[in-house]
């Protein structure tokens, strides 16, 4: 029996409902999360009602625009970014060979372990008096503190990568009498790449925070020092403005790195393909 007109209408309606439903579902959960965050912040600012304690998101946004127009925010961001990347670069340069040797030699691992454990547990403030005496307030102290913070993390990750090398691959290489330099390049370095990338991924978040704290206490430029000055003059909206930019930049950096990694996945470079 053919469907009567009202039934057909019903069918059309239900399709429409489905479409509406799927449009609702298309809003990504992370956007809902961000909206909730701003809502909580707004409510808190409304309840406290004192911008000296918690400024509203609107005030902070206005402050960000003002600071950009004054030409303070972007140079400060660039300086913090430069110091962070330099710190990460130095930590990778020192940490990668140490990590590789640590992964290969148990004895070397035992020699190095106490130093890395001390580095890992040492609070940032404990370095401050020494670095200020050596370099004064400047760019060196934040870079030094970033390096010392990231170094143990990178060393342990790389060592773990080397330890996870498939011994069967090494045996295969020995069967075919492959030269040691080629074994090192293809197998050892190849296996450490995913661990190196994961340590950079973890380092990105840590280095940003550490850089700002170090600048706050011993720097002369960057977001940290701007936050320090704003705090000194009790300009809480400015503190929030610089902090928000720092947090957003951290997210952006991690997001870009993840994009880079997924591009590498697609190109087929790596064990994870």
């Amino acid at each position: 029996m053919p469907l009567t007109l009202p039934f057909r209408c019903l069918m059309r309606d239900s399709t429409l409902n489905k479409k509406k439903f799927s449009m609702k579902r298309r809003i990504p959960d992370w956007i809902v999360g961000v909206c909730l965050l701003f809502l909580f912040w707004w409510i808190l600012a409304l309840i406290i009602n004192q911008s000296l304690i918690v400024p509203s998101p609107y005030e902070v946004l206005v402050k960000i625009v003002e600071e950009i127009q004054r030409g303070k925010l972007l140079p400060a961001l660039a300086m913090t970014f430069l110091k962070s990347i330099e710190g990460l670069g130095i930590a990778l340069l020192i940490g990668t060979p140490i990590g590789i040797i640590m992964g290969i030699s148990k004895r070397f691992e035992e020699w190095i372990r106490p130093s890395t454990m001390v580095l890992r547990s040492m609070p940032i403030v404990s370095w401050l008096s020494s670095v200020i005496v050596i370099w004064g307030m400047g760019w060196q102290a934040p870079i030094f503190i970033i390096v010392t913070t990231l170094l143990p993390l990178i060393i342990y990750n790389i060592a773990q990568g080397v330890k996870s090398i498939d011994v069967k691959l090494i045996e295969m290489a020995n069967v075919y009498q492959v030269p040691n330099a080629r074994i090192f390049k293809q197998i050892y370095l190849g296996s450490t790449v995913p661990f190196l990338l994961s340590s950079v991924r973890v380092s990105l978040g840590t280095m940003w925070k550490v850089a700002i704290v170090a600048e706050f206490m011993a720097g002369d430029t960057g977001l940290g020092i701007e936050i320090s000055w704003a705090k000194f003059y009790l300009e809480t909206p400015t503190v929030f403005a610089f902090t928000s930019v720092a947090v957003l930049s951290g997210f952006l950096l991690e997001f870009l790195f993840d994009k880079f990694i997924s591009l590498m996945y697609k190109k087929g470079y790596g064990i994870w393909t």
Binding site: K168, E171, A173, Y176, G190, T273
Partner: protein, 228 residues
């Protein structure tokens, strides 16, 4: 008669556990030999002794070959390198690499990473790697074990075809009776641990068998009787 391997009273133990006991075997040049035995009888240990990967055995092994290839149970390809780079890892001779890839019919897959290849293709790549050293002998450590029947047949055909062309000696260890029958011209049936040869079957006078021939089934039945 040209021999490529001759063992005299070969024995091997790991601590108190004797794995191989008093083994006397001759392997001729250019022949295909299979060592057939139940799982865990010490076949791989025997292959490692014969190939020189294990050296702390008692008895004697005389080897008359200088260049050997090894086809492992698992492909042992470097996962983050393309198939082509897996072969350049062993030799930089591009001509030999291209020739090996052609022989195993993987010439179009040089740029592919191992994860993009099927299990059968990975095992053929494993074979290609053994071929680029221009071997006089190739040791096969259960290379057919993890493959489906179709891939098994294709790999077996490739091995036999290339072996007949290039005339290297092929030594296979396996627990698959059918694979041994199809592959080998001579089969050594091994006992449980400590392993020794319980029967030698010479099939050099027989015509070629395949996975589905009646002859293969008959041999299979016969060999099963020797399994303890």
């Amino acid at each position: 008669m040209d021999l490529t391997i001759k063992t005299t009273s070969l024995s091997k133990s790991f601590g108190d556990l004797q794995v191989i006991r008093d083994l006397n075997i001759d392997i001729k040049k250019s022949e295909r030999v299979a060592f057939l035995g139940p799982s865990g009888c010490g076949k791989t240990t025997l292959l490692r002794c014969l190939s020189g990967l294990l050296t702390d055995y008692s008895g004697q092994i005389q080897r008359q070959h200088s260049k050997a290839g090894f086809v492992f149970q698992e492909p042992r390809l470097i996962p983050w390198s393309s198939l082509y780079n897996n072969l350049t890892f062993v030799t930089k001779d591009e001509k030999r690499i291209r020739r090996s890839l052609e022989l195993v019919e993987l010439e179009e897959f040089g740029k592919h990473h191992p994860s993009k290849l099927s299990g059968g293709m990975q095992q053929r790549a494993n074979l290609a790697r053994a071929l680029i050293v221009e071997p006089e002998i190739i040791f096969f450590d259960e290379p057919f074990q993890n493959l489906d029947l179709k891939s098994n047949i294709k790999l077996m055909e490739a091995v036999k075809r290339i072996q007949k062309q290039q005339k290297w000696t092929a030594v296979l260890v396996t627990h698959g009776i059918r694979e041994a029958v199809v592959f080998a011209q001579r089969i050594f049936i091994l006992s449980k641990k400590p392993t020794r040869v319980i029967k030698e079957i010479d099939m050099t006078q027989e015509e070629e068998t395949d996975f589905f021939s009646r002859k293969t089934a008959e041999y299979e039945r016969m060999i099963l009787e020797y399994y303890e």
